[in-house]
């Protein structure tokens, strides 16, 4: 395959940044999107050009490190797929592909396509944990958890924290991430005890990080590589209101 790549280059957080156009030949249809970028970087090194920086780690769709907005879509055109699991056979020979970093004020560009997503860490640090040591794995069913609840908690726990929800949101809202992280713990008996404290702290950290407000578009869930449902956002809205009211009357 022969491709034209329109790629965002930015020297640092303060730099303006702009697109650069590169042509790449002999891309295998079986290579992943990141392998294609590796191939491009080899080519650039050969030409004496600084390689393009992009985030990647496990390359098997579970770490949440890869990002990239490809032709306007975070993680590219495939549903329920991370960039590392996207294959070049989803594109056609001769295509022009536009590659941009995830765009949000809360995700400043470090360089080129690498963005700083530590705002998510700050939300998790605010309440995405259980404050006591819960010990090693207990015997099965020692702590009864209804199957429906454990399924829902697992669906929320599938969030890999990649930030596609923020990148796809026209308001750069982090509600899907925050609601998945809070919902996961709030649904389980170990996490329920600190539910109110957790939702208040996590929402406050989310607001403090400079994310936008949720407008119920649903773009986040459509872009999510793990198909996290909007139900978690509704649940966070409800839990947050309840926690606030309880706090007022306590």
């Amino acid at each position: 395959m022969k491709l034209i790549l329109k790629i965002w280059r930015q020297d640092g957080p303060q730099d303006e940044g702009d697109f650069e156009i590169h042509q790449i030949d002999q891309v295998s249809e079986d290579s992943s999107f990141l392998e294609m970028l590796d191939q491009l970087n080899e080519q650039l090194l050969g030409e004496g050009i600084e390689p393009i920086l992009f985030d990647h780690d496990c390359r098997e769709g579970i770490c949440g490190t890869c990002s990239l907005t490809i032709n306007g879509l975070p993680h590219g055109p495939e549903n329920s797929t991370t960039t590392c699991q996207l294959h070049m056979r989803k594109f056609s020979d001769g295509d022009t592909i536009t590659i941009e970093p995830f765009r949000a004020r809360a995700f400043p560009v470090v360089r080129d396509l690498v963005v700083d997503r530590s705002a998510f860490d700050r939300i998790t640090q605010a309440g995405g944990f259980i404050t006591v040591r819960t010990g090693s794995a207990p015997d099965g069913n020692a702590l009864p958890v209804p199957k429906d609840d454990s399924d829902l908690a697992m669906d929320a726990a599938a969030c890999i924290g990649c930030g596609a929800c923020v990148a796809s949101c026209k308001n750069a809202s982090a509600m899907l991430f925050t609601s998945a992280k809070a919902g996961h713990l709030n649904l389980l008996p170990q996490g329920k005890a600190e539910k109110d404290k957790r939702v208040l702290a996590m929402v406050s950290a989310m607001d403090g990080a400079g994310f936008g407000n949720c407008r119920n578009y649903g773009e986040c869930s459509a872009a999510c590589p793990k198909d996290i449902s909007l139900d978690y956002i509704a649940k966070l809205n409800r839990d947050h209101a309840k926690a606030k009211i309880k706090k007022i009357f306590s």
């Binding site: 697109f19 765009r103 407000n213 649903g218 773009e219 947050h240 209101a241």
Partner: protein
């Protein structure tokens, strides 16, 4: 309670509920004009004769809801713009519908409409001569009351006003279509399993309200051009008859 990002959404939802309910009551009241001059005049007179605290209490409450709703929207939109200072080179929308994306536009249209509508039919500064329309039709006693029937017919006798009203009602239907189901999501009483039904209910509600409000200016306009005879134009006390 209302300072966080979610708190602002609660304000939008709670004031939204009041306004969603209000448009239905207002529409139901309006439709009495189809029953004739007596019905609408009697209804309007009964509303105007409500005890002061109830009449003005409701008016102030509604205006406060509109102001809170609009002001919070402005704050939210400013924050949202700041949160995403750099647009994507290619902007793709996967799921969001036109109505949800254009809430700001439909909201501004509605705000302008509300101001115009109040000046047109409530405060009557646009056509002060509407104040002189008095009749005994629909009066609870023999005394003269304001002839709302004739005022509405005269009001929609201007084509541009009818068009503006209908355009505003289409904006309202878009605003309601997204707003109705958003109320449930923002207050956390929505799930994806019945969310689809909620969206449908929202759309049905939005279009019913749009139709219910638009039917009066549309009928008057059709009659103005002589295609039908529906309203009792003979009972007009207004000097300018239809067409």
């Amino acid at each position: 309670m209302f300072t966080s990002s979610l708190g602002k959404k609660y304000i939008m939802a709670l004031t939204g509920i009041v306004l969603i309910g209000f448009v239905f009551v207002h529409m139901a009241g309006n439709l009495q004009i189809l029953l004739g001059q007596e019905a609408i005049n009697a209804y309007a007179h009964a509303l105007q004769s409500l005890p002061m605290p109830i009449l003005w209490g409701s008016r102030v409450f509604l205006i406060v809801c509109v102001i809170l709703h609009a002001w919070t929207a402005v704050v939210l939109i400013r924050e949202n713009r700041a949160a995403r200072p750099h647009a994507n080179e290619i902007e793709v929308t996967k799921r969001a519908g036109l109505a949800s994306l254009k809430m700001g536009f439909s909201g501004i249209t509605l705000l302008l409409f509300i101001v115009f509508h109040l000046l047109h039919f409530t405060i009557r500064t646009i056509y002060p001569e509407y104040d002189d329309l008095m009749t005994t039709v629909g009066s609870p006693n023999e005394g003269e009351i304001h002839d709302v029937y004739s005022m509405v017919l005269a009001g929609f006798n201007h084509l541009w006003i009818s068009i503006f009203y209908v355009v505003a009602m289409f904006s309202l239907s878009g605003h309601l279509a997204h707003g109705f189901s958003s109320v449930f999501q923002s207050l956390g009483i929505r799930s994806e399993s019945w969310g689809k039904k909620l969206d449908l209910a929202g759309k049905a509600y939005a279009w019913s309200i749009c139709l219910g409000f638009s039917i009066v200016p549309v009928l008057v306009t059709i009659e103005k051009f002589g295609f039908i005879t529906f309203f009792e134009t003979s009972t007009y006390s207004f000097p300018v008859a239809l067409n």
